[in-house]
Amino acid sequence: MPDPAPLPQDEPLHGYELRVVREVLLALLARDSSHGYQLRARLALALGPLARVLNDGQVYVTLGRLEKAGLVSSRRVGQTDRPDRRVYELTPAGHHQVTEWLDDTGWRKSAPAEFHLKLVAAAAAGLADPIGIVDRQRHELLIALSQAQRAALAEPDGSVAALLLEGVVLRLQADLRWLEACARYWNSAKER
């Protein structure tokens, strides 16, 4: 499969938010084609009060870029009582991109939102088991925690660097606890 074309990065939208929205939109399209407004509603539902970060045009702007990059394609569908709607669907290159995103265990500063949306999207699209994604992330974070902690414990008493390492350790610990909450939720979601 050819690599997807790089996306234009010159728009004045926040890079991080844009990236997440882009991947989530692709994932939500993995099972069924969809209208922009449906995609926006699903994103808003997953984000709850945090959905404010999505400005109204962002979903449509992003879809337009994804189409330019060859990751989605669209067609017009006529409606009798309303203006035509544009229906988007994933291309093979888009599918490839979604798979890469789901496999990526990177953990950026704003990890909770992206990871949360990754699980929502993976479950919605039936692409990957959210529990499997949680498990792989736990492996990464536990290894990171053991390294950070070893470094922290090796510092002499009163070391100022130990304070920074403690910050790393506590953040990883909090992240691991939240992963457990994710595992609980998606486990019970499976049983429902």
Binding site: W107, K109, D135, R138, H139, E140, L142, I143, A144, L145, S146, Q147, A148, Q149, R150, A151, A152, L153, L164, L165, G167, V168, V169, L172, Q173, L176, R177, E180, A183, R184, N187
Partner: protein, 246 residues
């Protein structure tokens, strides 16, 4: 015991409570092999069965089914008197709430298991003194537990667990009652034990103590659902984790 034989070995291990509709499988078909010198952490939410599992591994409770071996010897069907003797000699326990004898000094608490196992008073005292030094409490030997902080009490409890040079130390939430500084002391101690080749099994919901292990096993509803090996893995760099790059 040969070097490649597991110290602890469980297979099909299950523990059920209640009957009929009220039946609870606290531990459900667990398979676990702990190698000589290995440190294993078992993590999971409250009620996942991890403490019950530790009690089974330590011969403190009997499994409903399955087999359990300590250094190749079957524990699951062993008569109680023999099991009690083996527990005393071959296993060390560390509990969340320390379980020290309040009327005895730190030193007397640490020498007690050796005395109970038939060691001479002089030998027991020598070993206990050395163990208290090892956990950094040589100067607290004559203190009663009530005069010690939580972290110090837990270090006394760890020294006591080592009194008979056990094949394995089994710990149940050893940092559960401790603040962050005292937790760091106990973490250091567990890292030391591990570095010296002590076989360890820790059940905990503290990710920090779990991260000192070679392997972390996640437990849910009585079953093992995931395992992470912490040795030999390469994670992202510390600078990246600290936000200095990446």
């Amino acid at each position: 015991m040969t070097s490649d034989q597991p110290v602890l070995s469980a297979s099909g291990l299950s523990k059920e409570y209640g009957k009929g509709a009220a039946l609870v499988r606290a531990v459900d078909d667990v398979r676990l092999h702990v190698a000589q010198g290995e440190s294993v952490a078992i993590v999971g939410p409250s009620g996942c069965g991890k403490s019950t599992l530790l009690y089974l591994l330590g011969g403190l409770e009997r499994p409903t089914s399955g087999t359990l071996q300590l250094a190749g010897e079957r524990l699951d069907q062993m008569p109680e008197s023999r099991l009690a003797r083996l527990r005393r000699h071959a296993l060390g326990f560390v509990f969340q709430s320390y379980h020290l004898v309040e009327e005895l000094t730190a030193l007397e608490n640490v020498e007690l298991p050796a005395l109970l196992a038939g060691s001479s008073p002089r030998k027991a005292r020598e070993r206990a003194t050395g163990l208290l030094e090892d956990v950094g409490l040589g100067d607290r030997a004559q203190h009663l537990p009530s005069a010690l902080s939580g972290g110090q009490r837990q270090r006394v409890a760890v020294a006591r667990a080592l009194a008979n040079a056990p094949l394995a130390v089994l710990a149940d939430e050893p940092t559960g009652n401790l603040d962050s500084a005292a937790t760091a002391d106990v973490l250091r101690l567990f890292e030391q034990l591990h570095a010296r080749g002590q076989t360890l099994v820790v059940v905990t919901h503290d990710e920090r103590i779990a991260a000192t292990a070679d392997r972390v096993i996640s437990m849910r509803d009585g079953r093992f659902v995931d395992e992470t090996k912490l040795t030999g893995g390469t994670a992202r760099s510390l600078t990246e984790m600290a936000g200095l790059e990446g």
